[in-house]
Amino acid sequence: MTEFFLNVVNMSISASWLVCAVLLLRLLLKKAPKWINVLLWGIVAVRLICPFSFESVLSLIPSSQTINPEIALNAPVIDSGLTIIDNVINPIIGEATISLQPEKDVNLFQFIMPYLAGVWLVGIAALLIYTLISFLRLKRKIGTAVLLRDNIYQSEAVVSPFVLGIIKPKIYLPFNMNGQDMDHVIAHEQAHIRRRDHWWKPLGFAVLTLHWFNPMVWLGYILLCRDIELACDEKVVKELNNEQRADYSEALLACSVNRRMIAACPLAFGEVGVKDRIKSVLNYKKPAFWIIIVAVIASIVTAICFLTNPLNKGFSIEPKSDFDIYEIEKHYYDKVVGADIANESDGYYDIAITKDMFLYKYFKAQGGTIDNSWIDIGKLVKQEDTTVIEALIKDNIPVKYKFFGIKEFYVALDESEIQSASCVIIMNNGDILFANIPAYTTENRYVSNLMKLKIKNSEIQNGTYKLSKEIYFNGAYSYVPDLENDKFEIKTNGGMHIYHFTGEVLSTGARYEEVKLNKSNFSDLFDNMEIWSADINLEDLLKNNKKAWCHNTPDDIGGYPYMLLLQKDGTLCMIFADFENGAPISIRYVYELEYTANIENGFDNSSMELYDLGYSLQVIVETYEMTTQFPDKTENFTFDVRNGTKGNLPNGANFEITECDLQTGRLTIQLSGTALHSTSQAEHTILNEIIVEQDSDGITLSDNGNKQFFTFRFIEINQNHDESGSQ
């Protein structure tokens, strides 16, 4: 709901720019017929309710997504399209914090968003209720209206004529109107009906209720009402001669004079001053044809410029820091399981994209085949032609994506013979999809999975925590957590990692998986109901629980940090349990955690070596030396280095020939690259082996997979230097 609210706010902001443009146009098109104005407001209404749109380079809207719901809820920042505004607002909302608990600040922007959404809903409800009540009261008052003819009624309750009813509109007049006035008034109201104003005005009001918080929308609505009146006057007066126009004006005047019996009547929204209307009526001249043409063209141009969204500039899949982690939000298709799948994550994976566009997968299956590490899939390469992917996925994507279209797409091919592809597809509305396509490079390619990704966010502040309040304590055990020295370090990018330090020594560090609390993994493990603290018990813990993470494969020891609970009020609890055969058998302690420090300040350097901070992007440099042999160890030959001494390995790492000794024939090659690795892994290599092959023409380097990646050709120095070069 908060996200929906933010989308409405974005639409409102986009439409506000349009309102400004319409205001300008109204001034410029003063001589044009007034129905053009109503048309322009119609365009504004479309902008206010239609969430979908095309992107076009002609768009004049600074930004279609000033507040990106995903971003706003995680790392508050706005993109209004105007740098000046962004630069003023972003620092404020980024820094603004609110202290919910001591030493635990939550960003103010994120905190109040749901409350603002609530206020918005209340506002809508209030407007609707007020409208409904007023409508019913009016209906009651005019219940005894007497039929005059057709659909025209008269009632003593009517002071000023109006039309009521959407399906079967009826005209209501007061009694005692003189004949001539009445004719003109009826003509006016009938013109309203013919113009369908009895639909437009309520529709406009409905749109207003959705955007009640936006003063520009109120302004638009007020002006819409005025323009409707003026357009209606024009429609009537068009057919009248001068004498009749004067009569019409007097009818208008008479109606407003009657009103004087009513005391201080507030100027209603949208009602035009009688004087202005009469002036318009008397001065009305049929607008020249060319003016109408110009006005229509101007309206069309406005529609194109403002109903379309700006090209999604600046949205890029490249991570802003070392890497971004994504999790699977929705499955759209899975060939193995079948088209309809529940949103299970078992057997699926998280995805990481590193700064240099490498794709990694982290499998989440319990006891997975891969031991808690990221699998390198390949380098994502942007593809220019999207027709292939469009054809492949079109049957399995929700309708809205067909509407949006693909903005960019990247493919990482694996190195097998039948290259399968992992594809990252970015849609025009910023959504990111992921597809696995076996046999991508052949005609037999097909989609085996299609899913939607979402950046993994964390509701828990990374850092160091210590135990604070005791909630459940089974004193029967000898090992008791130490409130002074027991610390937990929680790091959430790339998954939930919790490190447990007892007196500065790392006792456990592991990745925890999100779970749902149930009887077998939680409730039944509390076997002593008497050792709860006075104010919280099991039911409270469960009721207040928002999320829980559980250690999957702990050692069989007692007093193990088993689960982390995040409660709805923001508190964190650590559950210690006993294990047997890898499964928890009973819970020993439950403590609340208290945040103490930022992760950087958590521990001094000596203990830094002792533990694994999770994942990082490692830069790895490896050097190889090898000796080659020239065909003729004289100065007659040299290496052809026209193509340079640098290049890329097939897996994307860089290589450079750093030394090349013509006397001895020794080559030194340096490989460098980055890889996403758990820092607890001892060694990482880019290549296990470089194989040097030499023949009379030159030297070929290939990796241990037998893919050649560089060739040095020998050339005779005294020969032509445009002999065939190396690859």
């Binding site: 005894t144 109006f162 039309v163 005005k201 001068n242 004067a246 407003s256 009602e271 008397l282």
Partner: protein, 121 residues
């Protein structure tokens, strides 16, 4: 007894009653539907209201008047439309109500504007 005051719409109803009384209420309902365009519920409500005001009596579903045409003050009462919904938010009323606090001065000004226009200025 003071002659009861009736609203204009009620007066129109009384005209029908005086013409056809005494009349069964169901028939009265039909007549009101034809001539006034009233729903049956509206007619019954008015019958009830007027009987409370002492204008008519409804005995055993026969309705007859208690006051004559001359006695009833044809109404100059206009039921005031309350300010709460007049020209306020309820724009669901395709209410092309035109109201504004227009002063005497303005009225004169506007009338002059119209007169000048008539004269062809």
């Amino acid at each position: 007894m003071e002659t009861p005051k009736v609203f204009e719409s009620e007066y129109r109803f009384c005209l029908i009653l005086w013409e056809h009384e005494p009349i069964k209420s169901s028939e009265l309902v039909n007549l009101c539907k034809e001539q006034l365009g009233w729903k049956p519920t509206t007619t019954y409500t008015v019958i009830k209201r007027l009987s409370e005001k002492g204008v008519l009596k409804n005995e055993n579903t026969i309705v007859s008047s208690l006051v004559s045409k001359d006695e009833v003050q044809a109404s100059e009462i206009n039921e005031m439309v309350e300010k709460t919904f007049e020209g306020s938010l309820p724009a669901f009323i395709a209410a092309f109500t035109k109201h504004q606090k227009i002063s005497d001065k303005e009225i004169d000004e506007v009338q002059r504007m119209i007169d000048r226009f008539r004269k062809g200025e």
